[in-house]
């Protein structure tokens, strides 16, 4: 097959491309330029937007012996990922931009472009496994290396997208991939992993959002509605956050307080005790099902954040809305996050969390 290898400049996508070549595919390497003004040198944040990353990807392609191009996806990225990220925070939700990028850029804009240019699919360095089932449908499963598993951020892919996607690293562990990169003579073998959001410098989410959105003053209140302090923007807070609240006075019972709720219109941030963070039911919207929607109540597990724990759950789909009863309660779940549904290792689908219900209802 003719495949586009999306090469970030990191070790995973380089080894994935090399493996695709070895599997007999005709591979063309592509680095996605996601920022209009790429920084010359990496700042604190390890991202996908620096010239150095682009050069690393190019050198990996040289070593593998495949053609290499840079595709300018900066406009699409700004429109669908960055703007969405800002809008979601403005609306008091907590988006996952990596998931959004997979949904709208890597397996949409890039895949669509690849297909019209005559390619058959896209290969990436994601840790996940795809395989065809007996019914001829392509299933996605968790990676063998659970520490690196990225099926969560791929949970938005449809059957059509999965059919065109190749994840050669799903059966490997990260240390093996690094060793293989070394053996293949890839210069990026020892390059550190990226962690932060690629377009937010130094991982300073709140500072970045403050710059983009500007001041939106509001108050931090307790569950009784008592104002504890003022703030410059509710977007600097995340549900479940404990650190950096700077409330001055301790709670009456002396226990730490956590962000329980964010009300974006008034900018009210409600804090309270940890046990009030627990939720045991979720509502989801915009569901995507990898191999079709569940026909009845589904006993399954759900994952609610990247590298988060699995929770046993029962999922019901009702007229495009998803209802999730959690057998294992979850803590600090924010609207906007993705709920990815698993059946064993298989990804069933995903939905965007639109609301949560608390085991202990807050009096507010």
């Amino acid at each position: 097959m003719r495949l586009i290898a999306a090469m970030s400049g990191g070790v995973d996508s380089a080894v994935a491309a090399a493996r695709a070549v070895e599997a007999g595919h005709e591979v063309t390497g592509v680095h996605l330029a996601l920022s209009r003004n790429p920084k010359s040198y990496r700042s604190g944040a390890r991202g996908c937007c620096s010239i150095e990353d682009s050069n690393d990807a190019r050198r990996a392609a040289d070593t593998i012996g495949i053609p290499f191009y840079v595709w300018d996806m900066s406009e699409e990225f700004a429109d669908t990922v960055v703007d969405d990220f800002i809008a979601e925070y403005e609306a008091g939700r907590t988006p996952n931009p990596c998931l959004r990028c997979n949904e709208k850029i890597k397996f949409a804009a890039v895949l669509d472009r690849a297909l019209v240019l005559g390619f058959d699919g896209v290969v990436t360095g994601h840790y996940a496994q795809v395989r065809e089932n007996a019914a001829g449908l392509v299933e996605m499963h968790r990676a063998v290396d659970m520490a690196k598993d990225q099926s969560y951020v791929l949970g938005v892919l449809t059957q059509d997208q999965l059919r065109r996607s190749h994840f050669p690293l799903g059966g490997s562990t990260k240390p093996d991939v690094r060793r293989e990169a070394e053996a293949r003579g890839l210069q990026v073998a020892t390059k550190p992993d990226s962690h932060d959001i690629c377009f937010v410098a130094d991982g300073d989410n709140a500072g970045w959002l403050a710059e983009k959105i500007g001041p939106r003053p509001g108050t931090v209140v307790d569950e009784a509605g008592t104002v504890l302090r003022e703030h410059d923007g509710a977007y600097a807070y995340t549900i479940g956050q404990r650190r950096g609240l700077r409330l001055g006075v301790p709670a009456d019972d002396g226990k730490p307080r956590f962000v329980l709720d964010i009300e974006p219109v008034s900018g009210t941030v409600t804090v309270g005790p940890r046990e009030h963070l627990l939720v045991d039911a979720l509502d989801g919207i915009k569901p995507l099902w990898c191999t079709g929607a569940p026909t009845g109540p589904l006993d399954c597990t759900v994952q609610l954040r990247a590298h988060g724990a699995e929770h046993r759950a029962q999922v019901r789909v009702d007229d495009g809305r998803v209802h999730v009863e959690l057998l294992d309660p979850a803590e600090g779940i924010a609207p906007g996050q993705a709920c990815v549904v698993y059946d064993g290792t298989r990804v069933v689908g995903s939905a965007t969390i639109s609301g949560t219900r608390r085991r202990v209802e807050s009096p507010a």
Binding site: P38, S50, I51, P67, V70, W71, D72, E76
Partner: protein, 402 residues
Amino acid sequence: MTDPLPAPHRPAYLDHAATTPMVPEAVAVLTEMLGRTGNPSSLHASGRAARRVVEESRELIAERLGARPSEVVFTSGGTEANNLAIKGLFWSRHAQDPARRRLLFSAIEHHALLDPVLWLGKEQGADVVTTAVDRDGIVRLDDLRRTIESDPGSIAAITTMWANNEMGSVQPVDEVVAMARPHGIPVHSDAVQAAGHLPLDFAASGLEAMTVTAHKLGGPIGVGALLAVRELELMPLLHGGGQERDVRSGTLGAPLIASFAAAVDVSVRRREAEATRLEQLRARLVEGLVELVPEAIVNGPADPALRLPHVAHVTFPGCDADAMLMLFDARGIEVSTGSACTAGVPQPSHVLLAMGYDEESASSSLRFSLGHTSAADDVDRVLAALPEVHARASAARAVRAR
């Protein structure tokens, strides 16, 4: 994907304006010279032999380009020569008379000139003034005249390229010189794209300085020259041994310089015949492109006297030029989008924007440039691949617009 054209081993190279293959004469001289030793500044026999090669090369280049040998200042290439010309001129002219703050440059200069000019404006107190160009990419003399005559005493220098690298449009250098002369304003021209393709006579041009480089005319990459009249005071960029008239320091690379001279010699002697041949090849290409893609627009001057014979800049409306480049490349056909890149990301060309094109047409345009190795077969391969490449690249633009 059905591939009607299995990529042959030898690419169809249509990017001679980026760099052209070395002519065999230049390769022979270079390889022979690389085996010799001797610093041209050394006083012993080896040094003298190297110096002799440099001076003979200087004389040959001077003769072929209508200059005096003493006017040839060797540099590492076009970028250095342009930097030396514009910075050297601004610094020395401004030092002589602080009122001379203005630098006039055309809107379509190559980055190797544009960026030093903008740097002088940002960091060195120059007042940088752009001269507009028309829709064909030719400097508007009325605009230049107004700028000059508004205050000639404040002008440190004027620079106008000889022929544009993207469009191939030839600039009215004679007229620019004629406007500047009564006011004693020095004029520099970046002739990197013109040398070897247009008749150049430095003395007859009346220019104070002119940039040429080896690798655009069949010589090696890494050597070029600034032709500068003797009276011209240039403040050096590089200080050191003062090898080149105390204007440029650095050990002279005798092998590169000798090879450069061989390429200048060959390209100037063959220029006329080659220009006719390339003009015909270009016509075959352009006619074929327009026949296959009727909406294609050939940019730049239509009059052959106003453009380079070997460059064709074409807009394919609604088509993604980056995708075309990649699809052609996969078929062994090498062309250019003609624009500068940042981290491999094509930026909209300042040349096209200056000519009044929008970003959309700038991103739908390709530059085809021919040279001494080009043959009818290269053109035919482009035309054979075009229908599928164009269809796919148009679809690529369409999915983006979705």
